[in-house]
């Protein structure tokens, strides 16, 4: 029993990071109807930038802030330079449906290649803000480090901040209106193009943060965040791809589930577990935990 609880605790901080990646994917999906496969590349690029800033300033916090800002800038640029022209040019037929997937995959290859050219392929360590050693309370060891507490706290803070922006600010209202119906929003005076770029920018920042938070527990290489992308996508689908609360719950559920699989079946099954979860969710409850019926085909 103790081992089972330890396993669950282990899954919480990973779950929080998956939720953050899910949030990034959901933000883009809501604004553009594109699943951004380049998100893994954008996050890796931002994390390397953070690492470089840390090398120069040896301050974790400056590195974190610069990485998040860089992620936002890169996200906005991706929308402006690639996704916008793409949605203007794409005609009809299978090419139009496939174009965004192919485009973001191509971008993923470019970004990872460029990162590899600049920083090489070897595994790097990214520093943690706090100790990553397990803490003990009253003599019993809990597999949860101060850095894990920091991860969960900062992810919660980000979620609350996004919730506030979406529910309480004019920008959030514009973003929701544009996601609900682009033409309707335009008629109501929302500059949907600009709002969309802001969405991509937010998503880029969230992805960058996810990258910076997960790398101390794994390692950094040009393609090391591909798995984070897969798990973030799975979490987002569990939540229905539309709802941010759903994505957060999906991330947590996936983190706990994968920790159990890792503990009792071994590491080679965790990736397949994500695939099985995806298939089951999409077949049994395609609208996700919190999604409305029919949302999947939208």
């Amino acid at each position: 029993m103790q081992q089972f609880i330890d396993t669950l605790i282990l899954g919480v901080s990973f779950g929080a990071i998956y939720a953050l990646m899910a949030l990034a994917l959901i933000l883009v999906w809501r604004s553009t109807r594109v699943v951004n496969f380049a998100q893994a590349g954008q996050a890796v690029l931002s994390t390397y930038i953070g690492l470089e800033i840390h090398r120069l300033t040896s301050s974790y916090w400056i590195a974190l802030i610069v990485a998040v800002i860089a992620g936002g800038i890169v996200g906005g640029l991706v929308d402006l330079l690639m996704v916008r022209p793409l949605s203007r040019h794409s005609g009809t037929g299978p090419e139009a449906a496939v174009a965004p997937v192919i485009g973001t995959l191509g971008l993923l290859a470019i970004v990872q290649g460029v990162v590899g050219i600049f920083w090489g392929g070897e595994f790097r360590k990214y520093p943690a803000a706090f100790s990553t050693d397990a803490i003990s309370i009253g003599g019993s060891r809990i597999p949860f480090s101060p850095f894990d507490i920091f991860i969960v706290a900062i992810v919660l803070a980000v979620m609350v901040a996004f919730g506030f922006i979406f529910q309480r600010t004019g920008l959030g209202l514009a973003m929701r209106a544009a996601a609900f119906g682009s033409e309707v929003a335009q008629l109501a005076g929302v500059r949907t193009g600009r709002v969309r770029t802001v969405g991509w920018s937010f998503a880029g920042s969230a992805g960058a943060l996810a990258g910076v938070l997960i790398t101390p527990n794994v390692f950094l290489a040009p393609n090391s965040l591909d798995l984070l992308l897969v798990f973030g996508f799975t979490a987002a689908v569990i939540g229905g791809l539309e709802s941010m609360v759903g994505g957060a719950l999906g991330g947590l559920a996936l983190g706990l589930g994968l920790a159990i699989v890792l503990q009792y079946l071994g590491s080679s099954f965790t990736f397949m577990a994500a695939f099985v979860v995806l298939i089951v969710v999409l077949l049994v409850r395609p609208q996700g935990l919190l999604g409305k019926k029919g949302a999947r085909r939208a």
């Binding site: 999906w29 299978p94 192919i102 191509g106 290859a109 590899g116 050219i117 077949l283 999947r296």
Partner: protein, 331 residues
């Protein structure tokens, strides 16, 4: 003049001519080129599997590299354990991958666009690590799988690479023929109808879900054959050969060649072979990290440029040009 010959016969003649060209070429170029020819043959089949799926049904799969792994492993296992002849193992590869593809296809029939892409992505990431786990599958080292030595009656000058090329080219020509036949059959028309408009197709009496499962299954069968051929060119079946990168690579080939065109697959396969060569030339003298990463950058750039500038790929551009030359397209 050409019109006098019936269409199926014309296809056969084209394929026979191609075969003759291949055989003549294989005798004249050096060993390394012959070897590359075998790789191109494997890529052609892999790209056709994507063309059938994406071009004929509008579904995107990022998991065909994993289906190639299923084919490669099925083929290698029956050769290794049951000592079945090589040509039968090709059929086993087709059947094995098609079986897995049918299961995936049932899920795929209910998923659209990015959902299917993401799900098959998870499949591609997950499957190789399963192969790592089981000792029967040879772990990380994998299982040996090759075409064997050429028959002695072909003489001393007939090297193993030539034998490899002959086998791959023969299998590929058969696969191209079958694919063209399928695309012109009733099923090809059904798939195109579903791709154009699902509702209209359903109203015309087409079972849309069944046709999607079928196209995924057939596409997976082609991927399985491609996996077996690809494995013969590296002489083994191992998890590392079927990375996510392979899934992306064949998708790239399909997009650049033209996702609707089976002949485009041949263009795509050549592009896939040429990319590393161009990268090598460009990065000569540059540092090692440039050399290892340049192919990925070129691949990605080609993908982005293709979807931005010529969404139909090379084949569609070519078609457009020929029409323009004949004056059928007004600008």
């Amino acid at each position: 003049m050409l019109k006098l010959i019936p269409r199926p016969l014309r296809t056969l003649i084209v394929i026979a001519l191609l075969a003759v060209v291949f055989i003549l070429l294989a005798d004249r170029v050096d060993e390394y080129r012959v070897y590359q020819g075998a790789t191109i043959a494997a890529y052609v089949v892999a790209i056709i599997s994507i063309v059938l799926l994406t071009g004929y049904s509008g579904q995107v799969s990022l998991g065909h590299g994993a289906l190639m792994a299923v084919g490669g492993y099925s083929a290698a296992l029956v050769v290794q354990n049951l000592h079945w002849p090589l040509w039968i193992s090709f059929f086993v590869a087709v059947l094995g991958a098609a079986a897995v593809g049918a299961i995936l296809g049932i899920a795929a029939a209910r998923l659209s666009g990015p959902y299917l892409a993401g799900t098959t992505l998870a499949f591609a990431v997950g499957l190789p690590s399963i192969a790592n786990r089981f000792t029967a599958l040879g772990g990380e080292q994998g299982i040996g799988y090759d075409v064997g030595l050429p028959p002695a009656r072909f003489g001393d000058s007939f090297t193993q690479y030539k034998w490899l090329f002959w086998i791959c080219a023969a299998a590929t020509l058969v696969a191209v023929g079958v694919a063209i036949h399928i695309s012109r059959s009733r099923y090809g028309r059904i798939w195109r109808a579903v791709r154009a408009d699902e509702t209209a197709a359903a109203l015309a009496g087409i079972n849309v879900a069944r046709s999607k499962v079928l196209v995924f299954t057939i596409s997976a069968g082609f991927a399985g054959l491609a996996g077996a051929l690809f494995s013969t060119t590296v002489f083994l079946v191992a998890p590392a050969s079927f990375s996510l990168g392979l899934s992306f690579l064949i998708l790239t080939g399909a997009v650049i060649g033209g996702v609707r065109s089976i002949y485009g697959a041949i263009i795509g396969a050549f592009v896939l072979i040429i990319i590393p060569i161009i990268a090598e030339t460009l990065s000569s003298g540059a540092s090692e990290s440039v050399a290892t990463n340049l192919p990925a950058v070129i691949t990605g750039a080609l993908l982005v440029l293709t979807v931005l500038l010529s969404p139909g790929g090379t084949a569609a551009t070519f078609e457009h040009l020929t029409k323009a030359i004949r004056g059928k397209v007004r600008h």
